[in-house]
């Protein structure tokens, strides 16, 4: 499992990087899958309502009413119909990639289980909704879908009478099944939407709307497809004929040929096993559960930064319990915390400068403390020599930097780059532990802990507390969001940074020499 996940993770990294070459990072479609899913859902809803106005809900006239929309009123109802179909196809595509990506990024275990498990019924429902939609057209494809679906359901020994008998011959056909399908087609997506709301309960500030530019492009894609390649029906259903050659929608019906040919024990057995495994995956070995963040009230002033930076809504601010003069204190919800460390990076007491008092942030990860981070920094610094000493802070999901370390390059590992309090950068440079500091991690907008890169960028730019102090020379700090497979790109960026550093470091040295000279020259200054 771990190997598959790793390989898939690297594949995603490469695709995201490739798309990143021509998409601005916030527009990258691969980094907006959930939001695109919602976007398609809304398009399906609007077009669905319009199409329903002209749809004849009786089985005998349904086909004709859809033909009317497609051919007579092609300019509106026809386009709506095409939008409805193609947005549904794209919904399935982005949903399945989203599922794979959450798996590949290892975001289905531990506290993430909640979103994962609630995603599974949504997936099933989206398929059921689409399949019931194809049923409503009552063309040859609908006939095929109806027959294969009912025959498959009949394999379960729960129906008194084969329901496939409803599609035995033209005069056996009744409207009741059709009415049931219309109901399913409308009710299931609504239920799925309700579950999606639950799906996002543990994600703070979820991205549910794609950035405008991406939304416009994707809508343009759908419109172009609808105009140049509109959705058509196949010939009308005729129960006196075998629907022998049908054009399938391979996004919704890829398994239908298998349902037809494989024995019921296999299809029902495998289907059930697949769903059970999917739901059980968060608890299957190898289990990985890092210790959640721990609050140390003695060092907490209730500033709420951890609360606003936590990407998983795992912190609540509650009434102060220790009698100190602060109003509130953070409380970590152990079930929601994914141990990303963003809170520790946000805490104003994560200051490495203190030598007298113990370095002890108000909130910290027991497995990866800020103290151990400072120890790492000092250890790495001791090994650095030369004029271009660079300390690299690498996130646990960043590139594999083995072999990058050298006399003048040292690597410090963190859980997430957002775990790094900006004061550490100041510390490294002002204590002359290195000449430059470089931060790396996931690809931009692809942060494994959702917000680590955003918060880091904002902290460095002085837009979010705790911010990097003004006295830090910005030319000596570089960020490069490399992604897990971006070692080559990172190395190139590192070399470039080192070159640029020459200038600053020299200036620095020159300045300090100069200041020594001047202070020696003017002892009274």
């Amino acid at each position: 499992m771990s190997i598959i996940r790793l390989m898939l993770g690297n594949l995603f990294d490469m695709i995201e990087r490739f798309l990143g070459r021509f998409f601005p990072s916030q527009w990258n479609p691969m980094l907006n899958l959930g939001a695109l899913g919602f976007f398609f859902y809304w398009i399906i809803t609007v077009s669905g309502i319009y199409v329903y106005i002209f749809f004849d809900t009786g089985v005998n006239n349904a086909y004709a009413s859809i033909e009317y929309m497609t051919h007579e009123q092609w300019y509106l109802a026809g386009i709506m119909r095409s939008l409805h179909r193609y947005a549904s196809d794209l919904l399935i595509i982005v949903m399945m990639i989203h599922l794979l990506r959450e798996f590949a990024r290892d975001r289905y275990r531990g506290a993430h289980w909640f979103s994962w498990v609630t995603g599974v019924p949504v997936m099933v429902m989206m398929f059921v909704a689409g399949i019931s939609g194809y049923w409503l057209v009552w063309d040859k494809l609908a006939q095929y879908v109806a027959i294969v679906s009912t025959e498959w359901l009949d394999l379960l020994p729960i129906f008194g009478e084969p329901i496939a008998r409803n599609f035995l011959s033209p005069d056996a056909l009744e409207s009741r099944f059709f009415t049931l399908m219309i109901f399913i087609h409308i009710a299931i997506p609504l239920i799925a939407l309700a579950i999606l709301w639950v799906h996002l309960q543990r994600v703070s500030k979820p991205v549910i709307n794609p950035p405008r530019g991406l939304a416009i492009s994707v809508f343009g894609l759908l419109m172009a497809l609808s105009l140049f390649y509109p959705a058509y029906s196949q010939p009308p259903a005729d129960l006196a004929m075998v629907p022998a050659n049908v054009g399938l929608d391979w996004f919704y019906l890829p398994l239908y040929p298998l349902l037809e040919t494989l024995p019921g024990s296999v299809t029902w057995g495998m289907g059930t096993c697949f769903l059970i495994i999917l739901v059980a995956m968060p608890w299957l070995p190898p289990l990985k559960r890092a210790q959640p963040a721990v609050v140390d009230l003695d060092n907490c002033n209730g500033c709420e930064r951890c609360f606003s930076d936590c990407p998983y809504d795992a912190i609540d601010m509650v009434a102060r319990s220790d009698g100190r003069a602060f109003e509130r204190e953070p409380l970590v919800n152990l079930n929601k915390c994914v141990a990303c460390g963003l809170c520790a990076g946000a805490c104003p007491t994560s200051i490495p400068f203190r030598k007298m008092s113990k370095l002890s942030p108000g909130i910290d990860l027991p497995d990866n403390t800020i103290v151990s981070l400072r120890d790492q920094v000092e250890l790495v610094a001791r090994g650095l020599v030369g004029p271009r000493r660079i300390m690299v802070f690498n996130c646990g999901h960043g590139p594999d930097l083995s072999g990058v370390s050298s006399d003048n390059v040292g690597v410090v590992a963190l859980v997430c780059i957002g775990q790094l309090p900006p004061a550490f950068i100041d510390y490294v440079l002002s204590r002359d532990l290195a000449d430059g500091v470089m931060l790396t991690g996931c690809l931009e907008n692809s942060c494994d802990s959702r917000k680590g890169i955003d918060w880091t960028n904002a902290r460095l730019a002085g837009q979010r507390d705790p911010h990097l102090r003004g006295r830090v020379e910005r030319a000596r700090v570089e960020t490069f969001w490399a992604g897990s497979t971006g070692k080559t790109q990172f190395s190139a960026a590192l070399n470039k940074f080192a070159d640029s550093l020459d200038a600053t470091a020299l200036i620095q040295k020159a300045r300090s020499e100069q200041s020594k000279v001047t202070s020696e020259g003017k002892p009274d200054a």
Binding site: L19, R21, F22, F23, R85, Y86, D89, L90, I93, Y144, E151, D154, P157, G160, E161, P162, A164, R165, L168, S169, P170, D171, A172, S217, V218, G220, L221, A224, L225, Y229, A231, Y232, Q234, L239, A240, M241, V242, A244, N245, V246, G247, L248, D249, W250, F251, Y256, P257, E260
Partner: protein, 167 residues
């Protein structure tokens, strides 16, 4: 990368997605039925006679029963298996005993079967035994048909409609 090139690449990307979605939304065509053949679909559910005939209760016996359970007959639950045969041009195409469904075999026996047959003229006989008789059938229907390619002929059974229905 210059901006025009980036926009061109984005356009290309969306075009590829559009072509991909458009194509696989209804192609390639799925051919799942042999060319030049037709199909007979046999499907019905039917309750056979009981294994032990119901016995009429006497007025005295009925009176003895609790008020909410009074009934004219006393029946055991099991039903006889239904013997069904389908014969095409003198050859047996299908021959089966349908066991009644349900825990006590008191439900209906059911069958749903699709059989692929060559096109052209055929004589089809469907017959069924649902009683305790030792030989012969209780229902039998024979039809001459000329099957067209991909034609689907359904054979249903309804005792109240007099037996087999070809449609």
């Amino acid at each position: 990368m210059p901006d025009t090139f980036r926009y061109a690449s984005q356009f290309l990307f969306f075009t590829i997605v559009a072509v991909f979605v458009g194509y696989f939304s209804n192609q390639p065509v799925h051919r799942h039925f042999p060319e030049g053949m037709a199909q007979i679909k046999l499907g019905f559910a039917h309750g056979a006679k009981r294994k032990i005939d119901c016995r009429k209760l006497t007025a005295k016996e009925i009176a003895k029963l609790p008020a909410n359970q009074r009934r004219p007959n006393n029946c055991t639950r099991g039903r006889i298996p239904i013997h069904v045969q389908l014969i095409l041009d003198g050859k047996i195409l299908y021959d089966d005993l349908l066991i009644a469904t349900g825990l006590f075999q008191d439900g209906r026996g059911k069958v749903y079967r699709k059989i692929t047959v060559p096109v052209g003229p055929h004589t089809i006989t469907a017959r069924l035994r649902d009683s305790k008789r030792a030989s012969g059938f209780d229902y039998e229907t024979t039809r001459q048909v000329v099957l067209q390619p991909y034609q689907n002929i359904a054979i249903d059974f309804r005792a109240d409609a007099g037996g087999f229905l070809f449609r």
